[in-house]
């Protein structure tokens, strides 16, 4: 998604003279083009995330609109108080971009995983979260962020189960994607929802693990706060199936699944597949971590089948 992001943000910088780019000393082999082209509108704040967010807020107070980039864990946790006080309380158009959401940076180790980023940011006042489902959704998310007068966060990631599946539809504002619809709407079904790149687990399950033989609707959500009232296709599916399996590459506590469950009618059956931190945690590729935490297409298919049998 990083390549798609750089392309999209370049369009914003070209179009909006008040936009600028700030990095926390990351972006090697990706941002060099911006450095050359944008001069003083490109700032390397150094390895100093608190200062980076604070100065971006100061710049925004002068009427500018900074994009602030680092890897997801660094762009969010160390500087959380700066995001809360300097950006969110002041309702400033600071666009924070975290690369490597979830287990993207697998073998880099736990310090580089971002499995709480959406949780800590979603509670902040005025904050809007964008977590694209796939590379081909990054430009739409960036374009929406560019229109906001207030704070936002963009979570870029690479899924261990990346597919090239084309969505059936995408809502222009909520960004919710429909990826598959039930063969028989009169029969019991399950609504599978993936948060951001977490939906790729479901897409792989559709393509290669038999999920397509089950009576499922598959959606990807990519924006928080949710706007379910506008998501008519998703809403219709939820009301019909009353049966949800939610997949996210994020811890359960504070995640998007938790918020989705709260937004649903109480009678909805709800299962959550999410990341976990194990006492016997081992390290490997993103795929290894997904296996270790049982966030796999095979596990999803089994969960869907179990849930269908229970209806």
């Amino acid at each position: 998604m990083r390549v798609d992001f750089v392309k999209a943000v370049e369009l914003v910088l070209a179009r909006d003279a008040d936009a600028l780019f700030v990095t926390g000393d990351l972006g090697f082999n990706a941002l060099e083009g911006l450095v050359a082209k944008y001069g003083k509108r490109f700032i390397n704040a150094g390895v100093a995330e608190q200062g980076m967010i604070g100065l971006a807020a100061g710049i925004a107070l002068t009427g500018k609109r900074p994009w602030v980039y680092s890897i997801a864990p660094f762009a969010t946790y160390r500087c959380l108080e700066q995001i809360r006080n300097d950006v969110c309380l002041h309702q400033l158009p600071v666009r924070i971009v975290g690369n490597g959401g979830g287990y993207t940076y697998g073998i880099m180790g736990s310090t580089h995983h971002a499995l709480e980023d959406l949780a800590v940011l979603k509670v902040l006042p005025n904050m809007q979260l964008f977590f694209p489902c796939a590379n081909d959704q990054v430009a739409a998310a960036v374009a929406l962020q560019a229109e906001l007068d207030g704070p936002s966060y963009l979570r870029l990631a690479v899924s261990a189960y990346s597919t090239e599946r084309t969505p059936l539809s995408e809502h222009p504002l909520t960004l919710t994607r429909s990826y598959a619809t039930r063969a028989d709407r009169s029969k019991p079904g399950v609504t599978v929802i993936g948060a951001g790149h977490g939906v790729q687990v479901a897409l792989r399950a559709l393509a290669a693990h038999g999920l397509d033989r089950e009576n499922v609707d598959v959606f990807g959500v990519a924006r928080f706060p949710f706007r379910l009232a506008e998501d008519s296709a998703l809403l219709a599916s939820l009301l019909e199936t009353k049966n949800v399996v939610f997949v996210e590459e994020h811890y359960a506590a504070g995640g998007m699944g938790e918020s989705m469950k709260l937004a649903l009618p109480q009678f909805t059956a709800f299962s959550l597949m999410s990341a976990s931190y194990r006492p016997d945690q081992r390290y490997g590729s993103a795929a290894f971590h997904m296996q270790q935490t049982q966030l796999t297409p095979e596990a999803l298919v089994m969960l869907v089948q179990t849930q269908l049998r229970a209806t």
Partner: protein, 271 residues
């Protein structure tokens, strides 16, 4: 900057601000009295002499908010009606500055170490993005120079040659739980700022002529830091140089004595 500095006029203004400040705290029964008293002379100088219409001031030591409110009121930037709401329900003037509260206060502070990064960002924008000659002043406490984020911003300001940024440190030598030298040694303080790439002056932060002189040095390409040596609780003998008056509110007797001391100081200075 005005050529003909009139220290006596500034002293009168600072006295009036101290009276207003003490009245506010007495009425509200609010703390942080000592921290405000140490900053009032610096604030008086800034608002009387230094800040031009497009310049910005960031109070990084947010616990000094009431001293800023009293100063803004004195210089006509806060109304009587606004000031009357201080520390009351439904106010925009809480104990620490509120976000988007009043026009004259661009940033909410109160958690220490936030003001200088914000000020440095503003200065960067004015210098390089907006190309205006607007300047930014930022008032830090010495205690908040414990915060790493303060030094992150110092690195940034020096690297980008933000000579439109002036940092004032209200160096009263006392922080939350003791003297700065006992909690975390800052000295050699001026050398630290110099080493970070600032033009540094040290002066008595209650002496207007000294503050004026500290700022009169010719401008270089570097940001400036004025270490204003101050007395916490300045102007009220029993509050001076104590940790206690960081926290305590005044009772009626305290208030009466504090006012009497200001009256006495006035009659001695302006006889």
């Amino acid at each position: 900057m005005s050529e003909g500095l009139e220290p006596a006029a500034l002293a009168r203004a600072a006295l009036a601000i101290r009276r207003q400040f003490l009245r506010m705290h007495h009425e509200a029964r609010s703390g942080h009295v000592g921290s405000g008293l140490s900053a009032i002379d610096i604030l008086t100088y800034l608002y009387s002499e230094w800040l031009r219409p497009n310049d910005q001031f960031i109070l990084s030591k947010g616990h000094g908010a009431s001293s800023l409110y009293a100063t803004l009121h004195h210089f006509g930037k806060l109304s009587d009606a606004e000031l009357a709401t201080y520390y009351k329900d439904d106010t925009l003037l809480p104990a620490h500055p509120a976000p988007r509260g009043v026009a004259a206060i661009p940033a909410a502070t109160g958690s220490l170490g936030h003001g200088l990064p914000i000020a440095a960002g503003m200065a960067y924008s004015y210098r390089y993005l907006r190309s205006t000659d607007a300047r930014v002043a930022c008032l830090l406490s010495d205690g908040e120079c414990n915060e790493g984020s303060t030094w992150e911003a110092a690195l940034f300001a020096a690297h980008h040659r933000l000579n439109n940024l002036t940092v004032f440190v209200d160096a009263n030598g006392i922080q939350g739980f003791g003297r700065t030298e006992d909690v975390l040694t800052l000295e050699p303080f001026a050398k630290k700022w110099e080493a970070f790439g600032f033009d540094v002056s040290e002066c008595n932060g209650h002496d207007f002529a000294a503050l004026h002189a500290a700022l009169a040095e010719p401008s270089t390409h570097r940001p400036r830091c004025v270490i204003a040596r101050t007395v916490k609780g300045k102007g009220v003998s029993f509050m001076e140089n104590t940790v206690d008056w960081h926290y305590w509110p005044m009772n009626d007797a305290h208030y009466a004595q504090a006012l009497a001391e200001l009256d006495r100081a006035e009659s001695e200075s302006f006889r």
